[in-house]
Symmetry: C2
Subunit: 435 residues, 2 copies
């Protein structure tokens, strides 16, 4: 298997699983959901199966009413992954951090530290944060407009890269006899003066093992795609159908080339909400169990957050209300367009929309046997729709094991996925080094 | 041994040790200074000796010329301690985080996460940051004035406490049958509107094991003492003599009572720069070796940072220049007063000052046999000068082992220090629970 013809697999870590009803499933061990050992266990299992990386989504707010409907992660991603780094050796560790509610100096340092702690396995998922209430936790009257958030994100990323580069390779001398620890000529104040940021200093950490931790992105709006094309090495994307995924894949690779980078340098990973069973009947039964326990109210809350729309005036059996024009929306533009497309073509109540389209947050969702799941993955991978997948097992308890134990070996048998780590760092393992 | 008559021991983690020349000592293994396993090893050793807590100092800037003279920590404290949490079980984990260059929502969340990861062992050392150049890394033209930094620190801490309390105990219900994960009636938006901060939401994490991670403080100015008296449960302090330490101890306990808290609730830990040898000759030899390799230039740089004074116009053999009036200083007020006191009484050159008073940053420094070191500690502890010590071995390689292996058993033999952890959390182990 060459670097180019193998799939990349990332595992999304989620307390009970990526199905909104997962915490109510009888296989879920509730007492472990806020226990670090649960995450250590999942990470070790993923590493044994040679998964490329673990990923933690993140937000910076909580809707009080939503706590009723399911767990929130008790752990902040950078600290959680630092903990996981100590019980793993090879797997990549990708944390989300916001550019709207952060400072480049802190962010550069945290990821440099995670990279140092893990021996070169850190990745940063750059997000702009689209949930309005987050602004109120950081002294703002509201979320900055979408375009401004991306403008800030772009400059933020530039500053972080400058800080990571502020220590040249070879700056560390450690000459005891001469009394020269590091060479000041190879440590540079960045003196950044921009529109959003003014940052003078060098980073207060020696160059980290990867030099630059991996850059990851997940925005799919016009601005999000351009940010990814310019900086990202991995993009997580929500693509419900092969056709849409292909169009996205072509578009983002084209933009990457236009940004002056080899399209090979940006790996496209659609989300894959997966429920695998040894038999079709077993998988179907799990799916039915989950449908029966999911909270439609919780699903509407998350819709409301992502669309920046208030659904409280509607009952679940009202027709799905008309969505505002994109220019009037200051939340997740690409998601808004997706929902607008569906609801303008299908006449659905809110409840019907949730059951049909929203159990998996609009992701590609596959329920079936290992062979059926691998068939879909192979078709997308070979069909120009994906360089790999952001795997989201519906259930963390049992579902992760099923994917790792049944689907990964099937992909390996087909020669689509490697059976061991060959690189020293995350970027080397992904085949991105030297591209 | 009751809770009241035993010493508290904290170990300061430092790459090569707390003597500025430590990295040049032949016992220092240079290849480990930026390797996480070095810190894991020290943490495990400290836990085997039943040290109460580990502490990481921190800054948010680096002076390029200073990199020449010794290592900086490659790791950010919260991520480093999250990593250490995974290889230890009992020892407390105290990270420094700045209130001048941070946001309460982030800080509350990071420490809540460290507390959850470690099962209730997190502590936050609240600092206001007194190094001017830090401001330039965060878009400011200069450091806010001393009084304003402390005013902000006070409100910052209030907001963090509100966020930690935003999830009541018992908010987590996890009733699968009823579909009630957490009780929204026990999760509260804090709706803080203050002078420096406006923060509306609840924390996006369930209540952490300690509820409130331990609050630690190290400022010794008027404002620093008042902040400690109001909030802190542990204070790190620089006290060169028993007499000064006693006066500080009395003063801070008095202020704590005035702030309406039991003086028992604030534990006073002077820094103890220590160099212990099996024999006096062995300890003296290490001390001589260190004196021979320390960089006076580096020492002057750190003086310059802490005093907010430029020494570049002076040679090392010039008389120590007169210090400005305290009201004209916007750096570390208490340190300024300490140096002013010494230099106004003794006629010293800059070099002489460094050799006599500044190898240990003004801390109590003890070189000697285990018995000699324990004698000083016992005298301070029983003499009303200390509830324990912030132990700073001059050498991380060998020096930590010597303190843990020789001094700690001596203190245990004297009944001054316990030989096992009895609590579940850091606060319980410190005997602070239920005071």
């Amino acid at each position: 298997m060459t670097k180019k013809n193998r799939m990349i697999l990332n595992l999304l870590l989620s307390p009970a699983g990526s199905h909104r009803g997962a915490w109510r499933h009888p296989d879920t061990r509730l007492e472990e959901l806020h226990d670090i050992r649960h995450y250590h266990r999942l990470a070790r299992l993923a590493e044994q199966a040679r998964i490329d990386s673990l990923f933690l989504a993140d937000g910076l707010s909580v809707e009080v009413e939503a706590v009723r409907h399911g767990p929130i992660l008790s752990f902040e991603p950078l600290t959680l992954l630092s903990s996981i780094a100590s019980v793993t050796e090879h797997i990549g560790l990708i944390a989300t951090a916001s550019t709207t509610f952060g400072e480049p100096y802190h962010t550069a340092r945290f990821f440099s530290s995670l990279d140092a702690i893990s021996g070169g396995r850190a990745g940063w998922n750059i997000v702009t944060t689209g949930v309005e209430r987050t602004a109120y936790n950081f002294g703002l009257a509201g979320l900055p407009p979408h375009a401004l958030r991306y403008e800030r994100a772009s400059e933020f990323t530039e500053v972080v890269l400058k800080l990571w580069d502020s220590w040249e390779e070879g700056a560390l001398v450690q000459d005891q006899a001469a009394g020269l620890y590091a060479d000041p000529a190879k440590v540079h104040e960045i003196c950044h003066e921009g529109v959003h940021f003014s940052v003078r200093g060098a980073l207060n950490a020696v160059r980290c093992p990867q030099g630059r931790p991996l850059l990851v992105q997940a925005g799919a709006s016009e601005e999000g795609r351009n940010l990814a094309a310019r900086f990202a090495e991995m993009i997580f994307t929500v693509q419900p159908t092969l056709e849409e995924a292909r169009a996205f894949y072509r578009d983002i690779k084209r933009r990457t080339a236009l940004a002056g980078r080899s399209p090979e340098r940006l790996k496209v990973l659609p989300g894959l909400l997966v429920n695998v069973g040894a038999t079709e009947a077993e998988a179907e039964q799990k799916a039915a169990e989950l449908r029966a326990i999911v909270s439609v109210e919780r699903s509407v809350m998350s819709l409301s957050n992502l669309l920046g729309m208030d659904f409280s005036a509607y009952s679940l059996d009202d027709p799905f209300p008309p969505l505002p024009e994109p220019q009037d929306v200051n939340a997740y533009h690409s998601f808004h367009a997706l929902v607008r497309g569906i609801t303008s073509q299908e006449r659905l109540t809110i409840r019907e929309f949730v059951h049909k389209h929203w159990s998996g947050s609009g992701q590609l969702a596959v329920t079936g046997t290992p062979k059926q799941v691998a068939d879909v993955m192979e078709a997308w991978f070979l069909g120009g729709a994906a360089d790999g997948f952001n795997v989201m097992p519906q259930l963390a308890f049992g579902g992760v094991e099923a994917f790792l134990g049944l689907v990964v070996p099937e992909l390996q048998r087909r020669g689509l996925f490697p059976d061991r780590y060959t690189g020293r760092t995350l970027r080397e393992n992904l085949g991105l080094e030297g591209l």
